[in-house]
Amino acid sequence: MDYFSILIVDDEVDFLETLVKRMQKRNIDTVGVISGEKALEALEKRRFDVVLLDIKMPGGMDGIETLREIKRKHPLTEVLLLTGHGSVETSIDGMKLGAFDYLLKPIKLEELLPKLGAAFEQKVTQEQKIRKARIKELVRFPGRVLQQEKEEKK
């Protein structure tokens, strides 16, 4: 499998630890956090390709809020929603806010991995598209691109 990194966000500690352990056993770069705030902190520190996010997390930021923030700050990071009760409204909200997919708990790892892969592929494809667009622009308006990069560095 390609090298890709996953951030798992879930307040169920047992679930989180076991899943992270199993992913790492398969040599997937996986980190687990137990709250939405911690997830945003982690995303500031390093880059993750895919985030697996539990929707219902009582106390503090809930799943949907976290999703909104992630998509705002790190739009290229794909988010998969995990839900224990699968209410139609929240899943629609999630999709509208840019989640890649939503999955129901309990889910077997064998079913989860392909979904993560698909999310990763989506991310890669998006990045490629952006790169291509940039190159085009660079060729035509080099000045503008250089200006943009200067601003991004700030």
Binding site: E12, D14, F15, T18, R22, G84, G86, S87, K105, P106
Partner: protein, 553 residues
């Protein structure tokens, strides 16, 4: 159920309306009648009084005239003229010619000697000295006799006047034919039973009464009853008949003019009125009673039916509320169960991962671990399905038109009830057609109907039995049938089974509303539910719903 309440209410309302209507009606009728009665009687009294008075005045006039003529003749002639038969006869002629009713004429001197006479009797030479009438005319100057049987057995009476001529007093006496008098009196009678006559102070008839008695017979009327000028009194005769008597005394108070009328005839008009009034009031009462009964009965029936409708709607509302609450609870419960399940699955997965490592593969119990893990995962899957199904059922509470897969809905329902059935050793078999189109409908409500039918089937069987669920399509409909091999329904039960509050379960075990609610749900979809059954032959409930293709979005 509340039959008694309704009947009581009906009775109360009807009684109230009847009392409130009758009381014024009857009071009015009675008052009007009483008033009319009084006025009418008063009227009659006045009339008869007036007539009596008028007639007695007419009689008085007649008598006064005769007396006046005698006086006039006496005043204009001398004694010598009068006793001359020739001139007396001429005078007599003139009197009769001009006035009439004189039968004879005689001259009597102050000694009572009858000196001259014209007339049919043989009175000349008679002496009346000492007779009461002679004494009266000599002292009072005028005398009128009662009627007596006279010449030819005809009634007559006498008028005599005294003439004072210088120092001579003489009497002019005439016999009067009461024929005209009779006519005058008779004219006062009216009607079939009316009578008019003259009687003297002793009650002796002076004129001929109409019905009983003759002139000079006793009328048996007590003249002391009649005082004053005119008196009206009511007398009941031997035959229990009431008659009104109006008596008016003549001026000399010797004769009484009596007008008699039978009360019945007088009051006949009144009785007519009374009769008419009673009929009208009776009809009115009848109309009121009939209308009241029917109107109130109708109103109560309406009340009952809308009460029932409201109870039914309330029940439906309660059902909906219950299901909505269930839905909310379900989501929470599902979440609380799914999370532990998710953790369990990951743990077993982890155990499987670890078992992959070589060191474990040689242990004795490796297979045991393997199979145990597999079993745990199986049961987690089983639990997951239950929660998923329950969630699926509870989630779709909002009534909306959505795409409904009938077979799927049926299967979900059967899943929910599978345990319940299995616990009672009841097998549920399905035979679902695979050509059913997706239709537009409210899945939650359809599921509610299936739930109701299958639950009923299970309850009907009790223990040990078979339920067959079938689905088929026709050109325009989808048919779903639930068949059970329970005790079945009788003709009578089949008729009532869809009625609200009808249940064959013992009291407390069923509301009797399930099939009624199901029926109205299917009806609203444009379909029908029917049942085929026989006592001892189980029952098949068939739901037929029209195929409505959902609009392409």
């Amino acid at each position: 159920m509340k039959e008694l309440l309704y009947r009581n209410l009906q009775r109360k309302i009807i009684s109230l309306i009847l009392v409130v209507s009758f009381a014024p009606l009857i009071t009015l009728g009675a008052t009007l009648y009483y008033q009319f009665n009084n006025t009418y009687r008063q009227n009659i009294d006045e009339q008869i009084r007036y007539r009596a008075q008028a007639q007695s005045e007419a009689v008085d006039l007649f008598l006064k005239e005769r007396t006046a003529i005698l006086n006039a003749m006496a005043d204009t002639h001398t004694f010598q003229d009068m006793i001359d038969e020739g001139s007396l006869s001429r005078i007599f002629e003139v009197m009769n010619y001009r006035a009439g009713a004189f039968v004879d004429l005689g001259v009597i001197d102050s000694e009572g000697r009858h000196l001259a006479y014209i007339g049919p009797y043989d009175l000349k030479g008679r002496n009346y000295q000492g007779q009461p009438w002679f004494d009266e005319v000599m002292s009072k100057g005028v005398y009128k006799s009662d009627v007596y049987m006279g010449y030819r057995n005809l009634p007559h009476f006498i008028i005599a006047i005294r003439r004072d001529e210088d120092r001579n007093q003489w009497i002019l006496r005439a016999t009067i034919d009461p024929d005209i008098l009779e006519k005058i009196v008779r004219s006062a009678q009216i009607g079939r039973t009316g009578d008019a006559f003259l009687i003297n102070r002793d009650g002796v008839y002076q004129t001929l009464p109409r019905f009983h008695g003759i002139v000079l017979s006793q009328s048996n009327l007590d003249t002391s009853l009649f005082g004053g000028r005119v008196t009206v009194t009511e007398i009941t005769d031997g035959k229990n008949r009431n008659s009104l008597y109006a008596g008016s005394w003549l001026k000399d108070r010797k004769w009484l003019l009596v007008i008699k009328q039978e009360s019945d005839e007088l009051m006949s008009r009144l009785f007519e009125i009374r009769y008419t009034e009673i009929i009208i009031i009776s009809m009115g009462i009848l109309a009121i009673v009939l209308t009241t009964f029917f109107a109130v009965r109708l109103a109560i029936r309406q009340l009952k039916s809308s009460d029932e409708k409201m109870i039914g709607l309330n029940a439906q509302l309660v059902q909906s509320d219950k299901l909505a609450a269930l839905g909310k609870m379900a989501a929470g419960v599902a979440h609380e169960i799914n999370n532990p399940l998710a953790t369990i699955i990951q743990k077993t997965g982890w155990m499987e991962d670890l078992l992959e490592e070589e060191e474990f593969q040689n242990s004795e119990n490796f297979e045991e671990f393997r199979t145990s893990i597999k079993k745990i995962e199986e049961h987690v899957e089983r639990a997951r399905k239950v929660v998923h199904n329950m969630l699926g059922y509870a989630r779709k509470m909002e009534p909306r038109l959505e795409d409904v897969d009938v077979n799927d809905t049926l299967n979900q329902t059967i899943n929910i009830l599978e345990n319940y059935a299995r616990n009672n050793n009841i097998d549920i078999q399905t035979d679902l057609a695979n050509d059913l189109p997706i239709i537009a409908g409210d899945q939650a409500q359809l599921q509610q109907v299936f739930l109701n039918l299958i639950t009923n089937a299970i309850d009907a069987i009790g223990k040990n039995g078979l339920i067959e669920a079938k689905s088929r399509r026709t050109d325009s409909q989808i048919h779903v049938s639930i068949k059970d091999d329970g005790p079945g329904l009788s003709e009578d039960e089949m008729k009532k089974i869809f009625d609200p509050f009808y249940t064959t379960k013992e009291s407390g075990k069923g509301t009797g509303l399930g099939l009624w609610v199901s029926h109205s749900i299917i009806e609203k979809m444009g379909g029908t539910i029917n049942v085929r059954s026989g006592a001892g032959l189980g029952a098949t409930f068939t739901v037929e719903i029209p195929i409505v293709i959902p609009e392409k979005k």
